[in-house]
Amino acid sequence: MTTQLEQPIPINTIRITEKAASKVKEFARSRSMEKFGLKVGVKGGGCSGLTYVLDIVSGPDEADKVIEEHGLELYVPKKSFVFLAGTLLDYSDGLNGKGFVFTNPNAKKTCGCGTSFAV
């Protein structure tokens, strides 16, 4: 099950739920990473045009926007931020869980598997 925030997310940021942040920290621990953050971006391609990219990295790149929430830093590349502004990143587990889930107000359509979107 995914989380819905009570207030809309401002367009100058992206948000992550506590559950998703915990999951990221869990992955980082499994890789013995002590200093880390979550790179959140998009790349071209994917059936709807754009695909979400997640990666646990040791630090931000120079042009990344840095956002901190639930003790986790998010690093969003400048060109990706336009497409992710106002997005909520959650984690869906359980038998029917989808893993990391993006709720993106910019996405006008998504593909059947949910990993690709168009603006």
Partner: protein, 328 residues
């Protein structure tokens, strides 16, 4: 024998040179170039070997064609992309739109290079005899860097949808010298009309002449450039659905007529407009004019009798579905 007939003879039984320098040639730099194109086009490009060429179609999110192009993976050099004439701007803009963090840079070399297309069963032998020390491709869809009489060149043996050619790519300044040497050795310069004659005979559509951004790959009979197993690319869901549910509503066909056909003429099935004439061959075959046409479902079956508004009788002879089996 007319000049066109002589050119066609060279194309089919000798060596003809068609100057296709107007085609778009782009050098795609960066270690992420191939992966990026793989995500933006229909064919499996990640499996491309060193020195190998493969056709692919850049599609938009609606599965419609941006352009049809050949991707060449050159050993020790950036990718070479060969696309339709006048499409450099559209391709550069489209690929750049989908470039984020990738190491990728596009360079339009269309004006600084020339492309001489050699067609005909004697092409290989003539090129090898003329430039004895040059390494030439050993098989279809293979590229080599060659020294053609002191001119640094690239030679690509292409099987483009069933049309076999040798593409000789040289600096623009060297094109005339290479062409003249081939003519002195017995090659015939063939006009675009002669090339179109062969294209129509073989049922090979071209972007802009026969297809445009309103068409999807399956309408163009280009399934050989579409991988249905590689996973996501822009427009993939639409193309896959069209194929799975047999939803293609129109397609390129070969037609023949008993009188002159005009490019763009409407085709009627009874009183319904069902299509339009595309490339028309400039030379009749057995007194019949051959052409490619885009025709709606229900009227595209071979043997269907259509007419133009002028009353010219047009028969559908075959659907277009050409090329080698898909890469994957």
């Amino acid at each position: 024998m007319t000049s066109l007939a002589a050119e066609v003879l060279a194309l089919t039984s000798g060596t003809a040179i068609v100057d296709r320098s107007s085609r778009t040639r782009i050098v795609h730099h960066g270690k992420d170039a191939l992966d990026l194109l793989h995500r933006l086009s229909t064919n499996d490009l990640l499996g491309l070997g060193e020195g190998e060429a493969r056709g692919t179609i850049v599609t938009n999110g609606d599965g419609r064609i941006i352009d049809v192009m050949t991707v060449v993976k050159r050993p020790g050099a950036p990718l070479l992309l060969i696309a339709s004439p006048g499409r450099a701007g559209a391709l550069l803009e489209w690929i750049d739109r989908y470039t984020f963090e990738e190491d990728s840079r596009l360079e339009d070399v269309s004006d600084s290079t020339a492309q001489l297309t050699l067609i005909g069963p004697e092409s290989n032998r003539m090129l090898a005899a003329l430039f004895k020390d040059a390494a030439l491709p050993r098989g279809q869809n293979q590229w080599v860097k060659a020294d053609l009489g002191g001119t640094p060149s690239e030679v690509l043996a292409l099987d483009y949808l069933g049309l076999s050619t040798l593409e000789v790519i040289v600096p623009s300044s060297a094109a005339r010298g290479i062409r003249d040497a081939l003519v002195d050795a017995g090659a015939t310069i063939a006009s675009p009309a002669a090339f179109d004659f062969l294209r129509v005979r073989l049922g090979v559509p071209e972007f802009d002449a026969d297809l445009d951004e309103q068409n999807n790959p399956l309408e163009g009979g280009l399934a050989s450039m579409v991988s249905f197993t590689k996973g996501c690319y822009v427009g993939q869901e639409v193309v896959a659905r069209l194929d799975t549910y047999d939803k293609v509503q129109r397609r390129i066909v070969k037609v023949e007529a008993d009188a002159r056909l005009e490019y763009g003429a409407d085709l009627m099935d009874g009183d319904r407009t069902v299509g339009a004439v595309k490339t028309v061959s400039a030379m009749p075959v057995r007194d019949r004019i051959e052409a490619l046409a885009l025709v709606r479902k229900g009227s595209w079956a071979p043997g269907t009798r259509l007419t133009t508004a002028d009353g010219v009788h047009v028969n559908v002879t075959s659907t277009v579905d050409v090329g080698a089996p898909p890469a994957s």
